[in-house]
Symmetry: C2
Subunit: 189 residues, 2 copies
């Protein structure tokens, strides 16, 4: 009986709820949130005229995401997650047409790759968040002054892409839980 269950012959393709639609929706949500995060990050440039000691006129000093490796890492990670969400959304849409065994294999593969993507997005959000916090509050012990009182628009963008990245991480966590929940009732090896 175990063998026939593994082969999937005993299960009609319409057995139980299909995870395809929910997966596809969540992956579209992931695609939108990661895309917004990247767009908000790359458009975060702000130039401020600052008075520098020794120079009689104000000097224009720009702030942009490329000046911080943490923000570059976030943009790279979100771009990868964006592309990943697009590919897997299309893959999830094919779930319905698949045989139960193939669907099970795809779900397991997606579960593990979603977990990898979750780690990537969470670490990138954390990295950018740590640097964003210093920009917002500074650190008097290390002698790092806050810059958000000068670069307000830039910091609003940082807060924006951090919030959307956090949301993308939560979507990935829901996706992992959803894939895992699909195996509820299964007997593991």
């Amino acid at each position: 009986m175990a063998e026939s269950a593994v082969k999937g012959d005993a299960y009609p393709s319409s057995h139980g709820p299909q995870p395809g639609a929910a997966h596809a929706c969540l992956r579209v949500l992931l695609f939108v949130s990661t895309l917004i995060s990247v767009v908000v990050a790359v458009t975060s440039k702000q130039t401020v005229s600052v008075t520098v000691a020794g120079i009689p006129f104000p000097v224009p000093l720009p702030a942009k995401f490329t000046q911080s490796p943490a923000f570059i890492y976030l943009v790279a990670a979100m771009s990868v997650a964006c592309l990943y969400s697009l590919i897997t959304a299309l893959a999830a849409l094919t779930f319905v047409a698949k045989k139960p065994v193939s669907r099970a294999r795809s779900l397991l593969f997606l579960l593990i790759s979603d977990a990898v993507m979750l780690a990537l997005v969470a670490s990138a959000t954390g990295t950018a968040g740590g640097v964003g916090y210093i920009a917002w509050k500074g650190n008097r012990h290390a002698g790092w002054t806050k810059i958000c009182n000068v670069y307000e628009t830039f910091c609003h963008h940082v807060a924006g892409f951090l919030g959307v990245s956090l949301f993308a991480g939560l979507v990935l966590l829901v996706l992992v839980s959803l894939s895992a929940h699909s195996f509820h009732g299964c007997i593991p090896k």
Copy 2:
């Protein structure tokens, strides 16, 4: 047949490999790595005598993890992960004695909670890593000077707990993959 499989009557408790031992080993590894990370972080204090303008004698300036919210977050997250690994290592050891259906439920619960813990550890490592990078390299655009040339021992500790935290994240990723792999051959709902 599907019903009997779900009830677990058709499967003897010795069916296939038992994930208990591998889970318990990995969770012990997670416990050790998170504990090391916390210990290295809380013992990272270093005091350096610095010459300050206007004061004729060197002033002792300490550097410790409590001076950075990012490092406090890492210690908190690793402490949670440490406690979690201890509880779940004991839970994993009871796998062998469990019926297949109960084992399946436990595995699913552990899979989802491991994913939550993975997100926590990855984000904390990222946050501390972002701040550690500034301490190591500085950021001339933001006017943040590096401090690792002064606080060498402190920065060695930072590099140490970052490395061990990264390892803990990888262990959690393996745990999620291992739990997922246990369902290989199962037919999802």
